[in-house]
Amino acid sequence: MSNLSTSPATDQQLVAQVLGGNTASFGQLVQRTQGLVTQIVFKMIRHPADRPDVAQDVYVKVFKNLAGFKLQAKFSTWVGQITYNTCLHYLEKKQLVLVDPAEPELDTASEYGRRAPPLVAGTDYDPETALFSQNLAGILGSAIEQLPPLYRTLISLYHQQELSYEEIAQITSLPDGTVKNYLFRARKQLKQYLLITYQRDDL
């Protein structure tokens, strides 16, 4: 019984409290979702000085539109959607490219069966020692930074925030298949960048 009285309020309950005039409850909603918001903002916005303003704008928009939130929906996904759209608006304003349209689509059907080139010359390549030998976080961080904003965001949402394809599709308003395709391309670009930039001996 005591568990019932001390159990934390659900997102929906907190939303109802904020709508009832309890602004302090909004702080709890911010704390619960700021990991996701920060992740998207950091991946979509390259300029560090602009990130705090964008993140705060996101939450002001969330607060203003809270009455429009459908209580059946997942709150974090809804906040993620607003964050993504706010970042998209920022990129449009700055005339920055979300993803390079010139890049060819990765056709999984046609690619199946193609002879895959070896990652590096030689057969004694040991990826474990190569990838984990030096300052991996720094190398990976800078490699991810080289990807287009959308790819960076998809990689972090899927692999770091552990969202499903469906949730990412809801946040980005992209079809599930497109999300999956972009993720394939993002991982491939990431791997290729690492292999080209850092020679085996450097790693």
Binding site: G21, T23, A24, F26, G27, V30, Q31, Q34, G35, T38, Q39, F42, R51, P52, A55, Q56, Y59, V60, F63, K64, L106, T108, E111, Y112, G113, R114, R115, A116, P118, L119, T123, Y125, P127, E128, L131, F132, L136, A137, L140, G141, I144, I155, H159, Q160, E162, F184, R187, K188, L190, K191, L194
Partner: protein, 146 residues
């Protein structure tokens, strides 16, 4: 074993789970060290990505957001408005019913008394205006210092 190596997308799927692959590709993967190596590369890469430290702001995002929230508008004073409307209605009703009786009363008053009443009312209104002005100044001072 098929001589065709797995496509990059198949390698990535295998890095997540081989259950996502068709049986023919699983069979190839089992006998191909090259594809196994590439799957292992993806597995290590994606594990490392998943363990990257999450980005954080150097300031308290929650506090700054709460400070930026728009202030709630004060609710419309429905009760006060209702009472005012009720009082106004009563006054209008009284004037409608007994207004005719008041005219001869005012006509019978001496001119001096009328002037006196007007002067007192004028002083009262002026005093109220000065009070309102003083109150407004006090509020402005509080706002400036807060």
């Amino acid at each position: 074993m098929s001589s065709l190596h797995l496509s990059d997308s198949a390698l990535q799927e295998a890095a997540e789970s081989t259950s996502l692959l068709p049986a023919s590709q699983v069979a190839h993967l089992c006998g191909c060290p090259l594809c196994q190596g590439q799957v292992a590369t993806y597995q290590h890469l994606l594990t490392a990505v998943a363990h990257l430290p999450p980005p954080t702001f150097s300031f308290d995002l929650t506090a700054s957001v709460l400070a930026r929230l728009p202030q709630a508008k004060p609710a419309f004073p429905w009760v006060l408005s209702g009472v005012a409307a009720l009082v106004l209605g009563v006054v209008i009703a009284i004037l409608t019913l007994y207004g005719g009786l008041l005219v001869p009363v005012f006509q019978s008053l001496a001119t001096g008394l009328g002037a006196g009443l007007t002067t007192v009312a004028g002083f009262f209104v002026a005093w109220q205006c000065l009070e309102l002005l003083a109150q407004h100044r006090r509020q402005m001072r509080q706002l400036a210092f807060s």
